[in-house]
């Protein structure tokens, strides 16, 4: 919220530098986003009076001015403008001056004639007509009201001010106003707070003869107040009021509109002014909109309303969307003669919902949404009438509309003072607490048994209990009084959950194999999954989508991690990174129903992606094997059938009957979709399946006491026969003495019949009881050879 320092000074004596003021406000809970020194927008621009004007000898369109700038000698400046005249008062940018538009003016020569600066237009000073009359005239700005030559233009333009941008927290709706902030400043500086005391005179009459107002839906409108002003004298507002509005970023319009805006900014209470000419039947009803009712708002936009929206309607139709924006037809115009001032409290959640539904957010609705003081409506109304009087903008009719149910009584909190110190861990004297709370307009007394009794003012709805009072005391007493104390209580190292420990271990394993961890968004493009060529009914297409995504690109909760991984691989590949080994451990979101009615399952998944000249299917499988071995269970691998993987180079891994991983070389179509001109290898591992395997206790196994007997087997079989099946045959037939079976060669080519392959295993036999002799393993070898033969594997001769 932008507030002018000079405006604040109307209500509290601020006698310290602006930076210091802001520091103190920050430390009491009011963050300052920025401080703008208006005087810094320009320098060395002064009022000059043209004392002599001549034509330039060598240029038809240039004139040479001699200017009185309050010094002994006049200054000579050449100008191209043709609206200047002798005696005119104009803004003069002297040599080495800076203008708000960024220009730096230096002396020079124009067609050979020295020019010691520049005469300024309103545009060059970044001024609008509302800033200074005549500012938008084409040519040099001619100054009014005879400022003395030499006067700094900042003084003429009232730029001796600072604009402070306060960030008001959501719990302090009372500070969405200049008075609210000024009240806080008064507390912080321990100075008196001088709020205006509205006084005005009326001209008689009776409001009830002018208008009938009724509140139909009191639940959405707890209080509705109004006054009538007649014989409006519409015109421009005084400069001081215009400056206040402009400082807050508002455009001055006319005295009536400006008063409503000024009072809103000053008190935080939005006001609305109805042109009585357009209040059909001279009656207003605050009611829910009827189905299908429409309104065209001030900004010219048409809206269709629904029955949960509150409107202010005349006899015929809605005239205003309550608390949000007035209708086009209720606008105050130059010839408006009678107005009805509204000052009301609308329920904040209703204003919020309506504003969202219609896509409108205004200064007014923002304030209503945060919640207004129900008692503040009358003050604001009185203040507006006071300004009507002061500005002589109209005649106030007697009588006030004030419709409300029982107004709330001030709440009282009783809190043992020691409880506040107990919560904070400090030792604030109880009398100091009382003093601070009273300064905050929370009337507080301390009983003999040290209990605080605090009367909460109506504008502090946020104070509900002990903790809130503690905060009020502390933020004024100063948070630097909070001195850290070391952690107390039981001394024990914190625990991680088993799944976290297991995940950490897997990550260490990945890193040991040269893999780098990546982090990607949990939501992806809805089209991403299409790149995987998945079947229409594939569960990975059953994704939860965001109702309000930032864009299509981030619209879908991912059901798999592959597409994110491929995007990252593609980024790296296309940036000429020659090789990459990457992994990500994150969540896949699997909905039970679509659209979702409950939280989707969040399955931890480990995704691996790699490319590079060292990589092939088996380097990938090696990584996968290393990971799956951590389960301590037998893992079986079979060829798989994922549409996004190479049909002949992919596998799935099982622990028992549970699929734990799918991995393989990326299908060339998918590689092409990601602009990956190299072979890519990916894996997805279901961590829950891996982690669910019950860990077996690690027990020592005795070291072998007897030597092993080694045998090599070279076999010839069909090229299609999986090695794992051959190995399985050997193991089964090998009996108890067979300790290990290790594949050491697979060969196809010369000397091998087409369609066949040569496979060689190294077998190790060992007994734990004796040194084996050749004859002892002969029966096992015979059985192995026989079974292999049955499987179609013959010994290579």
């Amino acid at each position: 919220m932008l507030i002018s320092l000079n405006w604040l000074k109307r209500y509290v004596d601020i006698d310290l530098p602006v930076a210091e003021l802001c520091d103190r406000m920050v430390m009491s809970g009011f963050e300052v986003e920025s401080i703008t020194d208006l005087s810094q927008t320009m320098s060395r621009v002064v009022v000059g009076q043209i004392v002599k004007l001549e034509k330039h000898p060598d240029a038809d369109k240039l004139q040479i001015c001699q200017l009185d700038i309050g010094e002994a000698e006049p200054v000579q400046i050449v100008t191209g403008a043709d609206n200047v005249f002798e005696g005119a008062l104009v803004p003069v940018a002297l040599h080495d001056s800076h203008l708000p538009n960024g220009m730096h003016i230096k002396k020079g020569k124009l067609r050979g004639v020295p020019s010691n600066g520049m005469l300024c237009s309103g545009e060059e000073l970044c001024l609008k007509e509302s800033d200074y009359p005549g500012a938008e005239v084409y040519g040099i700005m001619i100054l009014k009201d005879s400022p003395a030559p030499g006067t700094d233009m900042r003084e003429v333009l009232h730029l001796d001010d600072y604009i402070i941008d306060f960030k008001i927290t959501a719990n302090r709706p009372d500070c969405q106003s200049v008075l609210g902030v000024a009240r806080e400043i008064a507390v912080v500086l321990n100075k008196p707070f001088n709020a205006p005391r509205p006084e005005y005179t009326t001209v008689g009459g009776n409001i009830h003869d002018e208008i009938k107002v009724s509140v139909e839906d009191t639940d959405l409108c707890p209080r509705y107040m109004g006054r009538i002003v007649k014989n409006l004298r519409i015109g421009p507002s005084p400069d001081w009021m215009k400056r206040c509005l402009k400082a807050a970023g508002m455009r001055p319009i006319n005295n009536i509109v400006d008063i409503t805006n000024f009072v809103m900014l000053e008190t935080g209470q939005p006001m609305h002014a109805f042109d009585m000419r357009h209040v059909a039947g001279n009656e207003l009803c605050i009611r829910r909109a009827k189905p299908g009712e429409t309104i065209t708002t001030l900004d010219g936009k048409a809206h269709t309303l629904t029955p949960d929206m509150l409107v202010i309607a005349d006899r015929d139709e809605p005239s205003c969307i309550a608390g949000i924006m007035g209708g086009e037809n209720s606008e105050i115009e130059d010839d408006t003669t009678t107005l009805f001032f509204e000052s009301a409290k609308f329920r904040r959640d209703s204003v919020r919902r309506t504003g969202r539904a219609l896509g409108i957010r205004t200064e007014s609705s923002g304030r209503f949404e945060r919640g207004l003081d129900i008692m503040g409506a009358s003050y604001a109304l009185d203040r507006a009438l006071q300004l009507i009087c002061e500005l002589d903008a109209g005649d106030i009719i007697d009588g006030t509309i004030d419709l409300h149910d029982a107004l709330p009584e001030p709440r009282t909190l009783t809190v043992p003072a020691q409880r506040i110190n107990d919560l904070l861990g400090v030792d604030i004297p109880f009398e100091t607490m009382v003093d601070i709370l009273n300064r905050l307009h929370i009337e507080t007394t301390l009983s003999a048994d040290n209990v605080l009794t605090a009367k909460i003012p109506s504008f502090r709805d946020d104070i509900e209990g002990r903790a809130d009072l503690a905060e009020e005391v502390m933020r004024i007493y100063g948070y630097d009084h909070i001195i850290g104390t070391p952690m107390r209580g039981e001394v024990a190292r914190g625990q991680k959950r088993p799944q976290q420990i297991k995940t950490d271990k897997l990550k260490r394993l990945m890193i040991a194999q040269g893999m780098y961890e990546i982090a990607t968004y949990s939501f992806i493009s809805s089209k991403a999954v299409d790149t995987l060529n998945l079947a229409e009914n594939d569960v990975r297409r059953q994704a939860v989508t965001l109702l309000n995504p930032l864009g299509e690109e981030y619209s879908t909760m991912r059901t798999q991690l592959i597409t994110s991984m491929l995007t990252v691989l593609s980024t790296n590949y296309n940036r000429k990174v020659p090789a990459a080994r990457l992994f990500e451990a994150s969540k896949a979101f699997r909905a039970t129903t679509l659209p979702p009615t409950e939280q989707p399952e969040e399955a931890p998944v480990l995704c691996i992606g790699m490319y590079g000249k060292e990589e092939d299917f088996f380097t990938l499988k090696g990584v996968v094997e290393t990971l799956l071995e951590t389960a301590g269970e037998k893992v079986t691998y079979t060829a798989s059938n994922e549409p996004y993987l190479h049909p002949g180079r992919q596998a799935e891994a099982y622990i028992g009957d549970k699929k734990v991983a799918v991995f393989g070389e990326l299908h060339p179509d998918v590689s092409a979709a990601y602009d990956l001109g190299t072979r890519v290898y990916t894996a997805e591992i279901e961590l829950n399946t891996l982690f669910d395997v019950e860990a077996k206790p690690v027990l020592y196994r005795a070291l072998p006491r007897f030597p092993a007997v080694e045998r090599d087997l070279a076999l010839l079989c069909d090229a299609d026969l999986p090695v794992a099946e051959i190995e399985e045959v050997i193991r089964k037939a090998g009996g108890k003495l067979l300790e290990t079976v290790a594949l050491f060669d697979v060969y196809q080519g010369n000397q091998i019949e087409k369609g066949k392959k040569s496979v060689a295993f190294n077998l190790l036999f060992r007994s734990s009881e004796e040194t084996l002799s050749d004859t002892q393993i002969e029966p096992a070898m015979q059985k192995i050879i026989k079974k292999l033969h049955e499987k179609g594997c013959d010994l290579r001769s």
Binding site: V26, M27, G29, A170, N171, P173, D349, R352, E369, R370, D422, L423, L424, G425, V426, R466, A467, D468, A470, E471, M474, R475, Y479, D480, I482, G484, T485, P486, M487, G489, R493, G494, K496, Q500, K507, M510, I511, A512, Y516, E517, A519, T520, Y521, V544, L546, L547, P549, L550, Y554, M557, T571, A580, L582, F583, F589, P596, T597, E598, Q599, E602
Partner: protein, 354 residues
């Protein structure tokens, strides 16, 4: 052929021969340069057909009374030569080894052969440090779902429907009641529902807000929520824990400052600043000349949040804090653009987990 063919001669003659043999043998041994020459020498003198053996054999021609003496002399010479041979062999081996070592000299400035190891994502490098610090202070590490219900993300945290505090965060919705959690604070509620005080947990996790992507904003980011609930927990305890954290992360001289703020689920609420580790608090570009860097929000758990979870606020109090992991990471490594964290260029990733 032996250089000293022995014939049946007088004993004296033999003694002279013996002497000559000794002198020659030792001289020859001295000249031996290779293991091969050494072996030849051994064979020449001490082999089956070597000079000494022949000399012994020639003793048959000596008178019987001279034989023992002569035999002794020959044996003495044999022992002498044996010893000299062993010594020479040792010296020879030593010099050969020296030669070999000399030849094997490497340019040790050439790079080592490594098996490349990978690394954690920078966010997790920093997260692990943070977890270590809090684990050592007795905080258990928990986690919670990224898709939350309105109840856990807002209602139970004292942010009712249509409360203005909801405007503080732009929320992604999946269904009317389902959203992507905007804060790890949701885990506070789940923890307090499951555990009874004393509670001391941190919950690291991913959170989501509808911020357009730019150098300092990401719709996906990470927080570490902390929660302590016990009897007699005070705001000074909160500061103590955060000071410990700040000292370990930013250095032992780091100062911690509380600034009043507002969060619906804590009361009192504070923003927590640490003195800028770049300039030591003097003011620099990093801290925008303020000398302080905002690192987290914190406060005393709101009594309504406690009672909503079945914990009596009259008996227990607690504090909570939420650390922004992404900011912690970018400030530690001076990463200027948060987007780099999610782009995952390998040349970026390689720089952190050292």
């Amino acid at each position: 052929m032996s250089p000293f063919p022995l014939h049946k001669k007088e004993g004296k003659e033999m003694q002279e021969k013996l002497q000559a043999l000794k002198v020659q043998a030792l001289a020859e041994l001295e000249a031996v340069q290779t293991p091969q020459e050494l072996e030849e020498f051994r064979v020449r003198y001490m082999g089956k057909k070597g000079s000494l053996t022949e000399l012994l054999r020639g003793m048959g021609s000596l008178p019987a009374e001279e034989r023992p003496k002569m035999g002794q002399l020959v044996n003495e010479l044999r022992q002498l030569l044996d010893g000299a041979l062993t010594e020479r062999a040792g010296a020879l081996q030593k010099s050969l080894q020296e030669q070999k070592l000399k030849e094997e000299k490497l340019d040790v400035t050439m790079p080592g052969k490594t098996k490349p190891i990978g690394g954690l994502h920078p966010l997790n490098v920093v997260l692990n440090d943070v977890i270590d610090i809090f684990q050592s202070m007795g905080f258990d590490v928990v986690d919670g779902p990224e898709v939350e219900t309105d109840h856990y993300n807002f209602e139970a945290l004292n942010v009712p429907q249509d409360h203005p505090a909801r405007d503080m965060q732009d929320t992604f919705y999946l269904a009317e009641n389902l959203l992507l959690r905007t804060q790890t604070s949701a885990a506070q509620i789940r923890t307090m529902e499951q555990r009874k005080p004393p509670i001391r947990i941190i919950c690291p996790g991913r959170v989501f807000r509808a911020d357009e992507v730019d150098a300092t904003h990401s719709p996906v980011f990470h927080q570490i929520e902390g929660l302590v609930v016990d009897k007699g927990v005070t705001m000074c305890d909160l500061k103590g824990v955060l000071e410990q954290f700040a000292h370990e992360i930013y250095g032992p001289d780091t100062k911690v400052k509380f600034r009043p703020s507002f969060f619906p689920f804590t009361e009192p609420s504070v923003e927590v600043d640490v003195s800028c580790s770049e300039c030591g608090g003097k003011g620099c570009r990093v801290c925008k000349d303020s000398g302080w860097i905002e690192i987290l929000g914190a406060g005393m758990v709101h009594p309504r949040v406690l009672s909503g979870c079945g914990i009596d606020p009259e008996e227990y109090s607690g504090f909570a804090f939420g650390i922004g992991l992404d900011r912690l990471t970018t400030t530690r490594y001076k990463i200027s653009d948060i987007r780099l964290l999610f782009e995952n260029d390998l040349r970026f990733l390689e720089q952190f987990d050292k």
